[in-house]
Symmetry: C2
Subunit: 385 residues, 2 copies
């Protein structure tokens, strides 16, 4: 066996030992050797390297029955960090995420909706450097920066292709932010990173195929298969809001008629409500429904019906084991969850799929996009060498 093969093997073994400690701690050297089939010498050498590099520490565990002491290993969570950013119309959030997806720091910052890409990006860079300095983060520990935002993102090129909310078109945020900060930068659609966060650390932990649905300024979904974001050819997989429901339906902001999201998104409802009276927010429609105003009852009920239909449609195409609901509707009016579930089980979910999935609301809430972006950066840029 030549040197090249041995190098490959060493790297593989190192990753294996690291993952064992990450996923099964507390665990001893002997247990790792037994489970992986590696020799005790190999395991000890690798553990030595990992602890030298600050990834792993030892502690003594006394067994309850016999009082015997064993030396166990655990990960030092902060040995690998990443910066997770949520970028939206009126604000951005900066978080520091550890190797388990825990948020060890976070802060919110205002953004002016008409702000240029240059201004936003240099504001992010400046604040981010301040935070790294103030928090005493060792830059060599930072695997990279992840950014989640609403819009169509070319994740391979690191480019925001189009974002209505930010008012951006063809902005290569990855390249620009990387030039300003020196860190590697990954960027993706907010729903995709949120789904990743819920899958790894949130309401969908333990799931093998998680579908996250967002009901808000748009309707979208994201699919995580065995820990990986499913992107499709142009990172547009999951655009469930633009499946056509009615070829003669209402016009969608995309220019097509009868898109699924025209029945659900806030702007549609406000627009429709305007036929009756001027309404400024979803809250007002909910209030009107509460006091029994027919138009509001109709609008909300139709929206909930199409949310249940969205859930059925996601089940039929992705057949996930877990569906996570997120977005303005779910976060601000959590009581609708039960109405949607009833519509699902009484009418809208295809029978063979009725007992194949769990349904949850996001558990990471306002932290989800930061955590997911941070985890994305670790996936893209963290290596053990």
């Amino acid at each position: 066996m030549k040197k090249h093969d041995q190098d490959f093997m060493r790297r593989q073994n190192k990753i294996t030992v690291y993952e064992m400690i990450k996923n099964f701690s507390p665990i001893s050297r002997a247990m790792i050797a037994k489970r992986t089939g590696m020799s005790a010498t190999t395991v000890s050498r690798i553990v030595g390297e990992l602890s030298e590099n600050g990834h792993v520490s030892e502690f003594d565990q006394v067994s309850a029955g016999l009082g015997r002491k064993a030396t166990m290993l655990k990960l030092i969570e902060t040995s690998v960090l990443s910066i997770g950013i949520e970028l939206d119309k009126y604000q951005f959030k900066i978080g520091i995420v550890d190797v388990n997806g825990a948020l060890v720091y976070s802060s919110d910052h205002k953004r002016l909706p008409q702000e240029s890409a240059d201004t936003t990006i240099s504001n992010i860079a400046r604040l981010l450097q301040q935070i790294v300095d103030l928090e005493g983060v060792n830059p060599s520990r930072v695997a990279g920066i992840g950014i989640g935002l609403p819009g169509i993102v070319d994740s391979e090129r690191g480019e925001v292709v189009f974002s209505v909310q930010l008012g951006w078109k063809n902005v290569n945020i990855a390249k620009r932010l990387s030039a300003l900060t020196g860190y590697k930068v990954a960027v993706d659609n907010e729903l995709k990173v949120r789904a990743l966060a819920e899958h790894i650390r949130g309401a969908a932990s333990g799931s093998k195929r998680t579908a996250l649905i967002g009901f808000g300024t748009g309707v979208g979904s994201a699919l995580i298969i065995e820990g990986n974001i499913y992107r499709g050819e142009s990172n547009s997989a999951g655009e469930i809001g633009h499946i056509t429901i009615d070829p003669n339906g209402a016009l969608c902001e995309c220019g097509k008629a009868g898109c699924l999201q025209t029945y659900i998104i806030t702007s549609s409802l406000l627009n429709e409500a305007g036929k009756i009276r001027k309404v400024a927010s979803l809250d007002e429609i909910f209030e009107a429904r509460q006091s029994g105003e027919l138009w509001a009852v109709q609008l909300i009920e139709r929206a909930l019906t199409y949310m249940a239909i969205t859930i059925n449609n996601v089940l039929c195409v992705y057949n996930p084991d877990m569906i996570i609901l997120s977005g303005e509707w779910i976060e601000r009016f959590p009581e609708i969850r039960h109405e949607i579930e009833e519509l699902c089980s009484n009418r809208f979910v295809w029978e063979p799929l009725r007992n194949t999935y769990g349904l949850q609301c996001t558990s990471l809430g306002g932290e989800g996009v930061m955590i997911g972006s941070g985890l994305l950066a670790q996936t893209c840029f963290f290596t053990l060498e």
Copy 2:
């Protein structure tokens, strides 16, 4: 490095060399060593083992310019075979498939629609043994049997959960056929194996994410990601025919209202046509359309519209690089392809996805399910040891 690690390494290297020869033949030992970084000694040892086991053969290639002779390697395609079966209401087909997915033998056999599972399975077993004997196939070369059929299949358990076409419910065809033949048996929905065949050997070869859509007695789809069938939690991913289009629409045979397939499937159209006059086949509706009968024009145009909508919806959720159309509609009336494509590009495909995919009709036709089933069996059961 202990023995266990070396065994693992040897196995990996063997698979690597095998795949190199399979995918890049003609290729020499030196080229393999260069591309993999393995030593010349390692490559020679593995090639020796592969040729001893009948997987690989040598041939001399004379270069055009200099006339130098090089010893190249190629796969012996028939060193690994599998049996691919298509099972349907009125017939089943048995094929012998080689390691590249080529059909080296095939035959058609009648099935009575009211036939019990026991009868069908023992007929298949008997005929299959006769074929293996007559064709002089060495049973030790047969990796296993694959079966593709219409219906809901539990591919893990090898069970037909429910098939309207076969009239079967909870039939463990894999276990039964394996007991009768001695071969390992894999079973799956026909669209999933057909998609696999088109992806590996047919119209979608070279694609990374293939979506196949079937328009026939039902409407369904299948997604192949990097050569693997995407199944979902209960092997129901791709059931696009049961996404809800209209909560108040026509009743579907599944019991739900307004399923996408109600606008497309043959039985729906015959049923609707019956309001005007008794019609026995899709051909009659097409003829009536040809002679300008309004009802037929309406029915076909509506169906084509919803086929274009199906394509848009598949694009939005899976974002594939290639869509393959299959099923009765496409196979018997190929002229509709252009009408569907026009509807797609003029009206129904969401703009950001317009230039992200190719559209093809099945190229394997009546052989697709046999080939896909055979390839499935090889994926499940073929190992190099």
